[in-house]
Amino acid sequence: MKIDPKIKKDLKERLRADLEQKKRRITVVCAYKIGADEIEALKEKVPLLKTGEIKWQVDSSIIAGYVVKVGSKVLDLSLQGQLQNFKKLIYGID
């Protein structure tokens, strides 16, 4: 079955756009409702947050700190994450 080259091109464009959008999609998770000054401080530390639209989420399970998700990447700055790292460290000690 032959696909019309125009449709094929449109599909490719659409997929590329979706991918770009996904890449730009930023989610920040915090243990509480984050304040404006804290957002600014966070943006100063993570300049990428200034570039795109951010979706803010509250999840008390992270205890404190932040989790920044950009596309498929995750920057874990939470206390829960630090505890997890600590746990890995304990596993590594004989």
Binding site: K23, C30, A31, Y32, G35, E38, A41, L42, E44, K45, V46, P47, L48, S60, S61, I63, A64, G65, Y66, V68, V70, G71, S72, K73, L75, L77, S78, L79, Q80, Q82, L83, Q84, F86, K87, I90, Y91
Partner: protein, 169 residues
């Protein structure tokens, strides 16, 4: 002669008779008898010789048998000694092999025990650390209020480097 009572004719006849008798006896009786005796003597001598030969052969055979028996005994003793040596060698080899196998099994069992011990230790360690961190996380979630969480968040932010870059590509 006739006065003496001797009859010459009779005497002559008797003499002739005796001579004839002697000749006949000699020719027909004494000679075959002598020949028979000679033959018997020869036969006897041959028998004796055969007997002696047989005895000699018997002696030779007996000696040979003795020698053979002696040789057989020597051979048997030698073979027995060799067999004993060989048996001892085999026994030693078997013992050595068994010992080696035993050592190998012992080592394998020891290794297995060590591995199991290690696995158990790791498992216990994992459980203890999981439990400890679970308790810590749970306690922190329950103890920390929003203000304290903000303080902790600020502390985390301040401990970070000046800027963090996230590369998506």
């Amino acid at each position: 002669m006739e006065n003496l009572g001797i009859d010459i004719k009779l005497m002559l006849a008797q003499l002739i008779n005796f001579v004839l008798f002697f000749i006949i006896i000699k020719k027909f009786v004494a000679k075959p008898f002598q020949s028979f005796l000679q033959t018997e003597r020869q036969k006897e001598a041959e028998k004796q010789k055969l007997l002696e030969d047989a005895q000699k052969q018997e002696e030779v055979l007996a000696n040979k048998q003795k020698e053979l028996e002696k040789k057989m005994k020597q051979e048997f003793d030698k073979t027995l000694a060799e067999a004993k040596v060989e048996a001892n060698k085999i026994k030693e080899e078997i013992v050595l092999t068994a010992k080696k196998e035993g050592e190998t099994l012992k080592e394998a069992a020891k290794k297995e025990i060590e591995q199991e011990k290690e696995a158990l230790y790791k498992q216990v360690k994992k459980k203890v650390s999981d439990l400890s961190l679970f308790l810590v996380a749970k306690s922190l979630r329950e103890i920390l209020d929003t203000e304290e969480r903000k303080k902790v968040s600020a502390k985390i932010l301040s401990s970070l480097p000046k800027t963090i870059n996230i590369n998506e590509n």
